[in-house]
Amino acid sequence: MREVNAKQIKEKVKELFLKANYCIGEDVLNSIKEASLKETSETGKNVLSMILQNYKVAAEEKIAICQDTGLAILFIKLGQEVHVNGNWEEAINKGVEEAYVEGYLRKSSVTDPVFDRKNTKTNCPAIIYTDIVPGDKIEILVTPKGFGSENMSRLAMMKPADGPEGIVDFIVETVKIAGPNPCPPTIVGVCVGGTTDSAALTAKKATLRQVGEYNPDPRYADMERKALEKINNLGVGPAGLGGNTTSLWVNIDYKPTHIAGMPVAINICCHAARHASGII
């Protein structure tokens, strides 16, 4: 058994949320750079150039890339040989709170979503997904998720007969309906299969895949390619002001599902696709 102190977990969580909010990933940065060279709309080019400039300022001055520093989501792989000294959930939430308070990040979490909607002032509770895995490490992946894009996500319980064409059409339709709202150019995460809950979760994880990587199954990679092409043919463009860069990438993952079903969950991520990972 390897002993890990709850304090170490708190510190790592804090470090990762600060990093995620200040520094955009290399893959996203390079993707926007590439897009700005290919974009044919003048306004689109200006928007992409402002986005690149903003990433630079944010990383240099350690200020939030976007004021919507999102709800704090964590995907953790906890090694089964690890023994945590202290309260696991408390440590994670404390790490989030400290990052958001000390890092000048906006606290966007409200209790009771319908009536009071009172700000929790800590950006907690964090949304924590933990998988128990072999080994003695703790792998933490954090993603602050803003709601401009989250609000444009969708789930459909499609039927098996809808096939790959139906799925691609649903993805393209979702991006079309979203228009400028999720701050294009977006990264689209999709999960086909599973159940309503596991599909939605897997779609969220799909947005965190490296931009530029296809699904290893060529049939799913083909759907990713087709969806991206059709999305960029919509003309929505950067900031929705017209252009040929509406999405940077489409990631489709799949899960085993019921013979009667084909759930399709789509999670949209804005261009500020922020995530950071670390290992304890």
Binding site: S41, N54, Q67, A239
Partner: protein, 184 residues
């Protein structure tokens, strides 16, 4: 169209009527911030016939909930939030003389009709360019609803705030006119 038109607040009817959809602007002057919760409170006050905590006539509201202010800055990262959530509250404010709104994303038919009726403009600021926008905010004070935290109404003094006229006072709408030009 000039490359970038410099305009200052408060906005006059003439300035508003002259602005065309697609015009890049650089806004200087005082603007107010407000989003979901603040708008709801303002409208509730109007329904009760009470006075509003801020002047509306000629003003510009920026839909934003900024991040806290780091040392050396006057304001934290402050990019626009998605405007459609304020649609239910907007026509009443336009009726009171609100002349400009800065945000991002689509607006409802009702809002556009009210903009045409009252003579107002909707500017799009670029979502996610929040750090750079923060640098252009030269002063910030909370003028109402401090308890709402980031959702409070702030009064910002902005210098050269970059935006684009997205929907003009005639109802011309970039979100409608531009994408079809690039659709295949």
């Amino acid at each position: 169209m000039e490359k970038i038109k410099k305009i200052s607040t408060p906005l006059t009817d003439k300035v508003v009527q002259d602005l065309k959809a697609g015009q890049n602007v650089s806004i200087s002057g005082y603007i107010y911030t407000g989003r979901d919760a603040a708008h709801k409170r303002l409208i509730d006050l109007l329904k009760e016939g009470k006075k509003l905590p801020i002047e509306i006539d000629g003003q510009v509201i920026y839909y934003v909930g900024p991040a806290p202010t780091p040392p050396g800055y006057k304001c934290g990262s402050a990019g626009p939030t998605t405007s459609y959530r304020m649609d239910p509250y907007t026509p009443a404010l336009l009726d009171l003389g609100l002349k400009g709104m800065i945000g991002k994303g689509l607006r409802s038919k009702e809002v556009v009709e009210s903009m045409k009726k009252n003579g107002a403009v909707y500017f799009a600021a670029i979502g996610g360019v929040a750090a750079m926008i923060a640098k252009g905010i030269k002063s910030s004070e909370v003028v109402a609803y401090e308890d709402l935290g980031p959702e409070a109404i702030h009064k910002y003094y902005v210098e050269d705030f970059p935006a684009i006229v997205c929907i003009d006072a005639k109802g011309n709408n970039l979100y409608e006119t531009e994408p079809p030009k690039y659709a295949k």
